[in-house]
Symmetry: C2
Subunit: 356 residues, 2 copies
């Protein structure tokens, strides 16, 4: 299915950029889009002409399958500008592989690697003025695929649209993240689609997350649907625990997304000779560690916020506050990752990918 591109990338530039209208100091995450977007349709069994064109609305049938059956997957990645105005992506190959893995699980045809990279590098270059220099600023890149065939019968679409949108982002300060450990609701099942970045996984979390918010917790840490005994991941972040000096995180599975940030944190931790345990993490052991003072840190790891330290968690009605760590693992990994992303340190793992 991963057929090579036969058609040349078609480019339609905007007549006038909208960049002058944007207040880069007051960006809401994911709300402002750059001048261009990428679009490529799938029909008759092949991906058609790939096109970069002015960002704008779609014309689509209300009977398109994406609206009815949630046959849709996406990715989230970022471009960074260094002090010499060079533009970098971070491990884009991982996102490429993951969107195709998600697509397979959602019965969507895989996208060709050559078109993906040509589209990605071309559009990032075209809109590179939208990337502000400075640590924390970035361009959030959203590749996604939606099922476009008309038909209200529950079967896979024969037509799709692959798109890339881009949105300038500021340093994403999440503030104090307080989390609730899930005791009733759940995010994914064995044999389900939790490991895919399938659109429906996210909408399904909004209601239980709203309930947590009403109680003062910004995020839910999901547990296994079966017994709610294992700590799995948060809405859009994998989760790490530091007990004394050991770094703990759950293994990825068909319930847990294989996060690029998670993978990178583990690689850094290994390089730095930290003690790492990638194994099922019990709610009970973390509660116990919080009680006896050995739980030093909890943090989320994901593209949007890089690393988000958690300041407290709630479980069965009890709130466990974590002591603030001035020089904790969270801070250290965030710095190490961002130094690589913004070309401020060497790149021993070959994670940086220069675009322009």
């Amino acid at each position: 299915m991963n057929s090579p591109s036969t058609e040349k990338l078609d480019i339609q530039k905007v007549a006038t950029s909208r960049i002058g209208e944007v207040d880069f100091n007051n960006l809401t995450f994911g709300n402002t889009f750059t001048d261009h977007m990428f679009e490529c349709d799938y029909k008759n069994g092949v991906w058609q002409k790939p096109t970069i064109k002015p960002y704008g609305p779609l014309t689509i049938s209300p009977a398109a399958k994406v609206f009815h059956y949630g046959q849709a997957v996406f990715e989230g990645m970022k471009a960074f500008k260094d002090d010499d105005n060079r533009v970098w992506l971070f491990r884009p190959e991982e996102n490429f592989k993951r969107i195709n893995k998600s697509s397979v699980r959602m019965a969507i045809p895989e996208f060709p690697k050559d078109i993906f990279f040509e589209a990605l590098t071309t559009i990032v270059k075209m809109d590179k003025d939208w990337i502000q220099p400075g640590l924390g600023n970035s361009l959030y890149i959203r590749p996604f695929v939606i099922a476009t065939q008309v038909g209200v019968s529950a079967s896979p679409s024969s037509e799709y649209k692959f798109m890339i949108l881009m949105s300038p982002a500021q340093a994403y300060y999440t503030g104090d993240v307080r989390v609730e450990i899930a005791e009733h609701y759940s995010r994914s099942a064995n044999g389900g689609v939790g490991a895919a970045k399938a659109a429906g996984n996210y909408g399904a979390q909004f209601f239980p997350t709203n309930l947590a918010r009403e109680k003062g917790f910004q995020q839910v840490i999901w547990t296994d649907a079966n017994e709610h005994k294992l700590l799995e991941e948060a809405g859009t972040m994998n989760v790490f625990f530091r007990v004394n000096n050991t770094l703990l995180t759950a293994p990825v599975s068909d319930r847990i997304l294989d996060g690029v940030t998670r993978k990178s944190v583990l690689a850094l931790a290994e390089r730095d000779n930290l003690t790492i345990e990638v194994r099922p993490v019990l709610v009970s052991e973390i509660v116990e560690a919080a009680r006896n003072g050995s739980l030093k840190e909890i943090f989320g790891a994901g593209t949007a916020a890089v690393i988000s330290p958690v300041s407290a968690f709630s479980y069965k009605g009890t709130v466990y506050e974590l002591e603030k760590q001035e020089d904790g693992f969270a801070k250290r990994f965030k710095k190490e990752l961002m130094d690589i992303q913004y070309n401020r340190s060497d790149d021993p793992f070959g994670w940086r990918f220069e675009v322009a």
Copy 2:
């Protein structure tokens, strides 16, 4: 949230009907749409002016949340024409309640009952020529809601679109349905969204269903995600088992959709004094019943096909063929249900709802 309508229904009729172009003897399910559609937007916390207008494409941002987070729910119901050209719905109140129940789980605002019924009856009346008389012909009605706010950050939309599309349908002959019992993949989890008609639940089934199809099974019967020991439901049908003369079906739960057809079959079975057991149904007992000859029937129950007899099931590599029942429960319930739907019998339960 279920705010009453304040605005009058706005009606824009088509200039010329497309009905003449339709071959009613060669309809593919869910592919042909009537002249009109219903649309009502939600913004600033209220449902806006409800509108019936010509069926046609939407103009929507590629950054609309429905594409990225699958925040979308739907319903499926039918209108029937009797021999006097009177038009009937079947238990529409149930679909209304269920779409709002689905919406709550997906953090979508509920839709007002008065607008729902006014829209539904008005649009069905307007397009009633699209309903062919004759047993088996119907108009499939698809209410749905999609998240339309622009934004690629994973949080509930502040804007939505509620729509109704309608598609003429012929007697839905499913042929011999052969099913595979799920042993690895799963459809829903405890605490998940399985009980909601959430769009993403359907896309998630396409891949495992494709795998079953390649082996010659049209449908999968899902089992509990945890141990794959309990028989739950099929893709768009609840499932019944007849062991000797006992009718068995799983109780609804947060994993299983509360089907209107299922509910109606149970009511008919009770009225007819059949022995009914609504309780968790073990895969092992059905396999055993198939082996010892006490398993007489398996059938699916859902709006699209009403009742679909299953002719064989596969479990752990063994295929169990069921003997064809000329006068089985499946046939009897199908006739009883359709007689009520098409106004060919009395309606002791008050299930019919006259539209025109």
